[in-house]
Amino acid sequence: MTTDVNVTQMRQAYFAQTTRRYLMIAAVFGLLALSFFLDVATGPGKYSLSTVLDVFIDPLSHGVRLKVIVWDYRLPVAITAVLVGALLAVAGAQMQTILNNPLAEPFTLGVSAAASFGASLAIVLGVSVIPAVGPLLVTINAFVFAMLTCGFILFATRLKGVGSETMILFGIAIFFTFSALLALMQYMASEDQIARIVFWMMGSLSRASWEKISLGALLLALAIPFSLLRTWPMTALRMGEATAESMGVDVGRLRVEMLVCISLLAATAVSFVGTVGFVGLVGPHIARLLVGEDQRYFVPLSAIVGALVLSLTSLISKSITPGIIYPIGIITSLIGVPVFISIILSTRREKLS
């Protein structure tokens, strides 16, 4: 009977597709592992790959000096790159889904600008929104302002008649507001303070520490199962709000839950490394092209691609001029944008042909 043939074929096609997706995720993960290792192996001190691998396995195999370089300097930076890339990309992926807009990410919604303002407030005035934080002053201020912005976005989505386009407009408004406030802080700042603000805004992995890594990893470990539990409603949301609701999804509640989760991720990532635009956009975008938008594959792969992008950025930032580490914010944009555009154009051509 033709019916049974059809059913078997459809199931086989679905299994083949699922297998391809798992392989794709595994392949990108392999690239990430490679990039991560190269990132650890690269730096001002030239050591062979095998030496670094030895220290990796047995910290003291080549003496204390190498242990300190690999474990205390390079590893935290490399892990932070992976973590922050993953956090930003997951935040971007979810924002794009719940706001139904491919341009949504922490940067375009003004979260990064708010964090920069928070950081500058700490740098210039020494004002902390939370007392007695000591050396974490700048980070915590950045975090609080990023969270406040996310809170505002959350509040705005609850308003009647605010659609996804309006949300992006809100984001742009937030971006300009905090940019102006930031300019004001720079106007009031001393030369030394301006330098610190500018450096903070450029985004840097040199602020890595094991405490920050633990916190970031914990958040990611909580966020991924949280998102995976909502994978079917989130995929339904890609069919449009009306369709998702008709399937029994409580869209309003889903939005709030996801925005709370995303806010934490975005605010944490941004307060750790400063402004790193683009990863939240490019990670999900590449993931989407590779595995589509079934959130079971899309969210994990977004995280892995985001991590890979920032890990490669970290590697490149050390490799351009020996002895100099360029701020990652500059690299992500300068190298990432042309690569990104070429990806978009090449896939467009494929689709048209």
Binding site: Q17, M239, S246, D294
Partner: protein, 257 residues
């Protein structure tokens, strides 16, 4: 299983849209056509039945069970509602998009039974050749068929279709209505469809409900309803009900002189 709607009132904020709607005893395997001009309250009635708009009073019953205030997710298992279609740019295949509709009310993991149900549904609607196609690449008619597939894959007791044939050419209109009719004969759900084309309604429906400004004007067999003077009055046209050579009902409508 019988669907009964009694004295239902609903609206948005202070604006009441449905005034005392009662449609008693819709027995299983009945195809009800909901007809009436734009803004008559057809979509609102569907949304109220689907639990997306809370009723201010009245009740909805399936069999002897009152589902008026049943939670949205539980209700989605019993009543499947297809809203009016708008395009969608998601990167999902047809198979995935029908699977996700099913997975809203079944467990997290995809099992064999889920895959069988999706395959069967696509087969029944003649969509199996499109299973691996991206939904954003579909034509209007194909997209509409996929939306119907998303609705019937859940095997609900009540299916609500909001203008399933809008924006379709004649061939697709007939094929979608025939598929719905076949589904009816296979699984005997209650189907209600909002339809603008009275001739299509006459051809496929067992019962017609005429709605205007949130009030039901008439409810009954197509040949009876379409012959009523209310039809012309409601749509602000002049109508005659005729029979074609093949015996089909035909509504001849023209603008009043």
């Amino acid at each position: 299983m019988t669907l009964s709607i009694s004295n239902l009132k609903a609206g948005y904020g202070k604006k009441q849209v449905l005034h005392d709607i009662s449609v008693p005893n819709i027995t299983e395997g009945t195809f009800v056509g909901l007809i009436g001009p734009n803004a008559a309250g057809k979509s609102t009635l569907f949304k109220t039945l689907a639990g997306l708009v809370p009723p201010t009073s009245g009740s909805i019953q399936i069999g002897t069970e009152d589902i008026t205030h049943m939670r949205r997710k539980d209700r989605a298992r019993r009543i499947a509602y297809m809203p009016q279609a708008f395009g969608c740019n998601a990167l999902l295949t047809v198979f995935e998009s029908v699977l996700l509709a099913l997975k809203q009310t079944t467990g997290w993991r995809v099992n064999d039974e889920n895959l069988d149900r999706v395959s069967d549904t696509l087969n029944a609607l003649g969509l199996s050749h499109l299973a691996s196609r991206g939904i954003s690449d579909l034509s209007g008619g194909q997209a509409q068929m996929v939306a119907v597939a998303q609705t019937i894959v859940r095997a609900p007791e009540v299916i609500l279709l909001d203008e399933p044939t809008s924006a379709l050419d004649l061939h697709h209109q007939l094929s979608i209505m025939t598929s719905i009719r076949n589904e009816m004969d296979r699984k005997k759900p209650v189907i209600m469809a909002a339809l603008h084309d009275l001739n299509l309604a006459a051809k496929f429906c067992d019962r017609l409900v005429l709605l205007r400004e949130g009030v039901i004007l008439a409810d009954g067999a197509p040949d009876h309803i379409l012959a009523l003077p209310d039809i012309g009055e409601t749509y602000r046209v002049e109508t005659d009900l005729e029979r074609t050579k093949r015996g089909a009902l035909y509504v001849d409508a023209r603008l009043p002189a």
